[in-house]
Symmetry: C7
Subunit: 285 residues, 7 copies
């Protein structure tokens, strides 16, 4: 009997008992920590979506869905980590589990990198305020008014009424066309036979008239800069003006119509393409 | 005899027995866990495909095939991980197995990253509802009606009746052309000899007529904006209108025909290209 | 003598004996497992190639070769893993072997990633049935009839009789031109002097005739849509029709010949390019 | 009783006590170090933003936000590392936690690499002073005046009044157009019938006049280089000059107007495109 | 003395002796295995190059060189691995050596990935027989006859007599132009004044003649398809034929010459570009 | 009391004392090594910047700044490594710290790879002397004189006076235009009616004259090569010459002016574009 | 005293002594191995550069520099590895050192991958002899004579006398234009009114003459292939010939001049562009 006791005593040595105790303690600890982290994560997600809770019903619906997806993801990840740790505590080797999860993780990570890039760029767009809702901008080769700035996608609406969804990660250069004033450039072609100085004088008068008539949208000019080009069939004079950003197209139309009407009055013609014809002498005989 | 017992006792020391016991326990645990995970995985897959079970026979067939493929994949992966863990429990070194599987996994992961990207983008397309079935959209340089939105591929059908299968990963910018109203732009060329104001008046009348005749599809306009361009051989006037998205081509045709007919009535000609001919004097002699 | 025994006893302590026994057991286990996996792999490969065994002699030959190559690869890999595990069991450090094999594996994995991509995409092409043998498709910028769909390469044959081998990995967008009906578009140019309504009436009659004559290949139309463009030298009217997918080119030719013949009857001319000539007055003197 | 003591003594062996003591010591150490690093990090961030504190209110606001974001990030990272270390000290296996965090870290790292590239390039732009505020430069295909040089984004404003936000990472080649002097090139076309030497003499005089009139902006020239091209319809002579960088457009306009006026005086014409007409003899009959 | 013995006995304890013995055994094992692997590798390389031993002297020379280079590489790698393992057996820590070699290996692996890709693609080209020596193919944008298919490079010789060396890795799409029959397409332009039906009849006769004269190279046709295009200045009729792949250029020339000669006989002209001239009335006065 | 001593003795067993001693020793060693490496690093940096110390004040200033930045970086890195090693010596687990630093390191490493590439390419440019200061080169699509060759950026100044900063990593192909002699190519167009042999004789004389007049800058030629092209409206003859690299533009101008003047003397005309006009007979009636 | 001895004996137990002895042995071994490897590396580098030692003084100078740089690099790397191993032998944890060095190594490895690629491709260029010094080749879009084939860069010199330095890694397709014979293609345009058969006869005679006159450089032909194209304004006949690779430009010029002269004799004209003019009847009135 005593031998058995001794044998058992050797069996359940203090070392072993401590180990078992510690293992139990650790298991309980893992369980509690997992639960706590899960609760904290839920709380964090709730706050995250509450903070951005807009009155729009559609967005609220979307947030709800996104919230429940993220909670599921969090739950599965925490369960996986907790379970793996428990196995390790029990002395089960988990290298192969972790290696497997690692390979999957890396594959997903690779595929998800454009998603991560979208979100990081989205964050900086929101943070640096390169544009705000309603701005008229040009991103990724597309012009339009900013309709929505999301974490992953920016929506812009062009003049044709079409909405372009542009992933933030494909936004490199941001051109904000909602400046305080934009430049209008009109090139006026006159005939080579035409006296340049006379034409410039007429255009100067025209500029003065336009300036007086549209003071509300003009910031600066219009001014005649001079001979921009000795072109193939015409001398081109350039007029520029700084106007309100959304009036540049209208201002261009006004100046062009004025030029045509002023030139009609003074009987100055805007020249067509010219071609000098040479007839071969031997053929003419 | 006693020596043998003692020798055996030393042989089968408590430590060893515990180790053997633990190993057996772990093996049984691994077996059960693998089975459980397999069953859970099967159940999860069933539910995943049940949830998306459409009445379409073809899709049901496909889901069935996909389901059985995924089950096979899951089974092989779990068997591999379970087997490797069992080997480790038995003290067989498995570093080389895991390293081998890792290299294969990384290679497959690299090759599969566009697949993962397809699925992640597909998920966001479904989730963010950038377009729905039946929308007329432009993705990856291709316009068409959305026929099917899959996890990996989106199918669109263009006006020529052709179906384009576009992997979701190659969808960057999504342009949704199914707006509430789209813009029609018609540029009308008139002769430089023509009085601009007169032409604009005629076009204004025309716009009014079109507006009254097609109130059902027109949202706004048509309006004459003015002199868009002093072109090489003509003065171009611009007309714009906002119409139902799928009526823009019809509306363009209506306005163009009206312009031709109104101009014919008033005997205004739409000018051809002009060329001013200069004859070399010395050659003319 | 007794000391020697004791010394030996200490030498061949139970612990050591167990270790040696275990090592032997593990070596035998590794040997058996390797053999079993090899046999299972062979069996699996046999079944894989048997399942796809087509009656074509050439493919059978190819499968045989591929089979023997894959068996060699499997054999070398299993021998390598088994050998490394045996070394580890014998206590020989194998870190450097595994590291070396890892670097080679990663290098090969990098180089092979386009191969893996080919096969993964090939699998999805086969699985999603985006096209089948005989379809007329457009992939990777090349149009043609599908001749063969392989795991790595898809072969298409164009109208010129040429075969294009396209690696599956370079197939992004799949355009299947074997639709139920495809659209034919013919733009007819008429002179600006020509009465539009008259021309449209003639084309309407023509459409009716074509429709009646070719009911077997026409699904819908042909219809005159109206004034498509007020072009530089002509007014362009558009005719469209939906026809059998492989009759679009024939239908285009029929409509064009009909247009020419109908216009010839009514003496309507298809206009050449127009140019308005202006002579400089001063030069004319 | 004594046995219990002995048993306890064996239980709480010096080894164990030392281990427990050490663990407690380490836990305390980890706690203190984490706190210290947090405080030091805060201090460092404060100084970083203080050092760049500009009087601009908007930037101060942004710095404040950025500061609080970075502090949060730092806090979470330090807490995570500290917590994991504590778990390890307590003997809880943390491989799976670290592996999980590692995968997330690598994914974020991949997505963030363009951000890191922006900042590294930004640092070198600031450090190498390739351009300073107010310079007129060309980067990433965009010309404009430098408005702001940030760590992530450089802002330039073009002549049209539009601001372009260019991520530093997309700046490859930097062309600084704010040179001490820039070259103006004007090509003057004269008729093939025209005597070249005479034309060159006239242009030489013109250059001399321009030089005297605009000494303040001209650094060198203008000079007539000679026959640049025997073009299709004209002999082209080239004039070049070095002027103040922002006067090149004005100088071009001045020279062009002068050329036109000087040629008008001497009745030299700038030729139109020439075409030699050959009439088919058989057709002329 | 006895104490010394005992001390020594404790020193050279069985455990230690076993360890030393094992180490010696392992060292010898490593030495033998390295030697064996080296010999096996040499043998394998010999067989590899013997198997591909062509009678061409130049290739034999090259194989010899390549063989000796590969043997050197193998020798250095095996010596490195063997040496590192020996160090580990001796208890020298080798982590830093392996880490260093790993970094070098990864760098080389990255740089070598295009080499690996070349070889893998080369293997598949040889294996899938997409083309054989003498075929006329188009790869990587280059057409030519296949001169040599190597593991790394494919050589093709174009009609100009130039040899293009194309790395296999840059071969994506393989177009094999050595088809059983290729299509010839000839578009014949006739005047708008010309009767279409008459022209088609003439071309039909011509096709019949060509068919009879060149039966040896023609597989199908030539056939007149009909009105291919109502072009700007001509009605275009299309003739197609299927001929031997290397006769398509000759057949094109034959048909074109025949068309010209047949049209000359019937006095049908192939039209030049047409232009309708309109003279401005006001200018004519 | 004795028991306490014994207990303490067991507590502070030789093993423990040795361990403590060793730890202290190692800590001191780490401290000293860190200090030494820091000093050595400082010394190395000093020498590096001293060796390249140019008399230019601006560069000295920059080196100073760069030096202090690099010293800070070195200090932080060494402190981090030293601190981590100290923690490990104290038995604190540092896996999580190293993992964290590793992720940051990899992210920075990815972002910095273009920087590393710049510097490596820069080193080879300096080392291989592909170009030196003052050379006229073409790199990355930009021509100019080399102003500065830096480790990261090469500065070139073009003829317009503009400085281009080109990161060395974007320099692929280096074209050095500062050759010993460069070729001038002038194509002279003569009329189809012109006798070719006569024109060649005139050009030969011209070449002889130019050669005699500009012996200082001409290395070889100019020579008339013969009929380069039977172009659309002219026969083109080619003249080539080898001249000093920076005289090619001047030589081109000289030859062109000479050609015009020689042709004027002999009354040979340089032809304009030719067009053969055919009048439709039916229209002429 | 005895207790002290015993205590010391327990202190300096055989185990410890063996450990210390082993450590010393290992340290010495590391020292010696490092020295040996360094010497061997030096010797290897010497031989490498001696083997390629050309008589050119410049290259000798470069090799010397490169040699000393590589020796420094080798020395630093070996010292680093040796030092780290020594630390490990002394029981100092080196994980953090190796991790740090690893991150640096990976960053450098990434940046250096294009360098490694250059060298690997360079090796294959040298080894596969795709071109040799003096060949006229086309690589990376640049034609020229091979001046130097280096491990990193290949230098080619074009006809303009300019040297292009092309990194071997950017050499994909190698086109060797130094073939045994290259093809000359001349397209001759004749009038549509011209009798084709007559023109072909004349060209046949011409080919015969050219063949007889230039037998030394002609390998095959020249031959008249027939009607290459029924072009817009002319019938194009094609002549081809195989000539010495560097005579193709000269041969082209000879054939073109001959064509012009033979046609002049027979009064056959090379046609200009043709245009059929139609005059609007209503305008002519």
């Amino acid at each position: 009997m005593e031998e058995l006791v001794e044998w058992l005593a050797r069996f359940f040595s203090p070392n072993l008992l401590i180990k078992i105790g510690l293992a139990l303690l650790q298991l309980v600890g893992i369980l509690i920590t997992t639960k706590l982290l899960l609760r904290f994560g839920y709380f964090f997600l709730e706050r995250l979506f509450k903070g951005k809770n807009k009155s729009d019903k559609y967005i609220r619906q979307r947030n709800k869905t996104l919230n429940s997806i993220l909670k599921s993801a969090l739950r599965y990840i925490l369960y996986f980590i907790g379970g793996t740790m428990a196995l390790e505590v029990l002395g089960v080797p988990t290298t192969s589990i972790i290696a497997g999860a690692g390979v999957v993780g890396v594959a997903v990570g690779f595929g998800a990198q454009s998603l991560v890039k979208d979100i990081i760029t989205g964050f900086f767009i929101l943070f640096e305020k390169q544009f705000v809702l309603g701005d008229y901008i040009k991103i990724a080769g597309q012009e339009g008014f900013v309709e929505e700035i999301g974490l992953r996608v920016t929506k812009i609406k062009d003049f044709d009424g079409i909405i372009h969804n542009i992933p933030n990660g494909s936004i490199k250069q941001v051109t904000n066309l909602t400046a305080s004033a934009r430049r209008v450039v009109v090139d006026v072609a006159i005939d080579y036979q035409q006296n340049i100085q006379e034409a410039i004088t007429i255009l100067d008068e025209l500029c003065q008239e336009v300036k007086e008539e549209h003071t509300n949208i003009i910031k600066d000019g219009p001014t005649v800069l001079g001979v921009q080009e000795l072109a193939a069939s015409s001398v081109n004079l350039r007029i520029t003006a700084m106007v309100d950003p959304f009036q540049i197209w209208e201002m261009e139309r006004i100046i062009k119509q004025q030029v045509k009407e002023h030139f009609d009055e003074r009987e100055i013609e805007i020249p067509y393409k010219h071609l000098t014809i040479v007839k071969k002498s031997e053929e003419l005989v």
